[in-house]
Amino acid sequence: MTELLNVTGLTTSFHTSRGRVQAVRGVDLTVKPGEILGIVGESGSGKSVTCMSILRLLKRQGRIEGGSAVFDGRDLMELDEDALTDLRGNEIGVIFQDPMSSLNPTLTVGEQVIETVLRHRNIGRRAARARAVELFEMVRIPSAATRVDAYPHEFSGGMRQRVMIAIALACEPKLLIADEPTTALDVTIQRQILSLIKELQGRLGMAVILITHDLGVIAETADRVMVMYGGMVMEEAPVAEIFALPRHPYTRGLMASIPDPRTAGEGRLSPIPGTPPDMSDPPKGCPFAPRCPVAMRVCAEEMPRLYEAGGPANRSRCWLMDEAAPARAPYNTEDAA
């Protein structure tokens, strides 16, 4: 299938008082129509900056220094501001972690949906309002017809996130970018928002990029997973495969460090030692090398490329995937260690 979004070589830096912070360093990613791509990473891994760069919504200090992002035949990096405004909220919807700071507190929630619909659709106010009610019903806000006239502060956190989803989906986008959409929400609400996103994705046939730090959320929601660290893609694989056999030492470390709620209790946790790299002065070689339990001398010296890893859709940025590397289970061989 042809890709809906094809990003190559995306490179973004922030110019701060502390110098140049290399937030995204050559990210390639693709999203197919109708799939959910999960991007997992810790703070500073570049996962959010990748998406903000694609949307060209970076803060002032941020600069896209290279790469392209072809969405449905157009390179987003080449579009002018008018064309981008037409695209955002219309063909690409976005939801963020904190719905309160994304909603205008002085307007009713309905007004904010109507605004989006009127901007992108050639219909009258009355029809736009009807559409707002319809959208509220779709995201299951109770008493939709009356609650469109309420203000954001009258809604709970979960209901506000539903409003954000209604706005993001108002124009039936081909792609929804959801940046930590449930991180600020309670676990029962999180479950409902994730189910809602999945259900609407299926019903509307849209693609989703879901950004999160939560491996549980990824496991339950994504079709394909991309793991980021130090501004780069470390590993990429279909969801079942990455959880069954994570190839990259970082992915393995991340999975080993979280307790499984079904069995947690016995034994000690296995944390990843050390701290993430300082991206104003990233390591010369693999960004994970200083914390990696199986690092070799080359890892600190030279950046590994993304190798194919056990399948056509699986990639791992690790020197152990090189044909010259020694066999080390389970990183580059299936044989038991």
Binding site: D186, V187, Q190, F243, D260, G265, P271
Partner: protein
């Protein structure tokens, strides 16, 4: 032996109200009875607004409890004066969620750690400095860090500084209020392991407050579940996850995202509208979201009942068998 006993602890706040209108009563903590044994970790879970953090603040008297009693090591400290409270203050310490917000950015790490010792005039200045270096080693930092300032550290390192400060006075009880929520996933396990090591080494007792239902099962011996100011269930950790009695606990557990793509779950049918704590439902507070709610639930507030083995649940239907949640039964899922 119990180190801390809460007996019907209540913390009500007056909200709003004006010249001619009566203020509304917010029952943030509404009669919580629980005790913590010396050397154990009691986990306290619940969703935002359930009163778990307020409970912690009432225990250390950041708030004056409006009802019930706090008994620490045999002494009722609920209404002690500030002077009478002083010897107890050093024995109960707290670790907060956001170490940057809880550490004064203008103080060096050494000053931050010795401040509690300075205030209580423990040791000579030189002994305090040595103690600071020793504490830094204990939490996995080094004496070389002592001259630096909080902003020079990562989130995980700052939390280590917060922990060093909390244990500087050799406390008995450490209240950990979401201590790992702000940390990166790969760092959380480092801090949790360290808390466990410190507990073994120093004989600490923890009250561990969190919304992370996976981590709490790992760290806690017993877990209490709070809902709208009430403790609705209390049980040994493994027992709570394998045989939850309260429908709210079941709802919470069924919502935990499991890091295994083979276990995809549907959303629970329950409504996500939590009632306002200013306008609580009659009877059982959970009945508006409860799949088992019946007539009696609207009339009579359920009292905690003992189901044996230290398992308490406050629900009229707690003895009815309910479908096991997927979270609790990995064998069945694999079958």
């Amino acid at each position: 032996m119990s180190l801390l006993q809460l007996e019907g602890l209540a913390q009500h706040f007056n909200v709003g109200g004006g010249l001619f209108s009566k203020p509304a009563k917010l029952r943030a903590v509404d009669g919580v009875t629980v005790s913590i044994q010396k050397g154990e970790t009691l986990g306290l879970v619940g969703e935002s607004g359930c009163g778990k953090s307020t409970l912690a603040r009432s225990i250390i008297r950041l708030y004056e409890p409006t009802g019930g009693r706090v008994i620490f090591d045999g002494t009722d400290i609920t209404h002690l004066s500030e002077a009478e409270l002083r010897p107890f203050r050093r024995r109960i310490q707290m670790i907060f969620q956001d170490p940057l917000a809880s550490l004064d950015g203008r103080m060096s790490v050494r000053e931050l750690i010795t401040e509690p010792l300075d205030i209580l005039k423990i040791g000579t200045p030189r002994q305090r400095r040595e103690r600071a270096n020793e504490l830094l080693e204990t939490v996995g930092l080094s004496a070389a860090h002592a001259g630096r300032y909080p902003h020079e550290f990562s989130g995980g390192q700052r939390q280590r500084i917060g922990i060093a400060r909390a244990i500087a006075l050799d406390p008995d009880l450490v209240i950990c209020d979401e201590p790992i929520s702000a940390l990166d996933v790969s760092i959380q396990a480092q801090v949790v392991n360290m808390l466990e090591d410190l507990q073994a080494k120093l004989g600490l007792t923890y009250l561990f407050i969190t919304h992370d239902l996976s981590m709490v099962r790992h760290i806690a011996d017993r877990i209490g579940v709070m809902y709208l100011g009430k403790l609705v269930e209390l049980a040994p950790a493994a027992e709570l996850y394998t045989r939850p009695r309260h429908p709210y606990t079941r709802l919470l557990l069924s919502a935990i995202p499991v890091p295994d793509p083979a276990v995809r779950k549907d959303a629970p049918p329950a409504t996500d509208e939590v009632p306002s704590p200013l306008d609580l439902p009659s009877g059982c507070r959970f009945r508006t979201r409860c799949p088992l709610a019946s007539e009696i639930c609207a009339k009579i507030e359920p009292e905690p009942r003992d189901f044996g083995g230290g398992h308490l649940a406050a629900c009229h239907h707690a003895d009815e068998s309910a479908p096991t949640t997927p979270i609790t039964n990995p064998e069945r899922e694999n079958a």
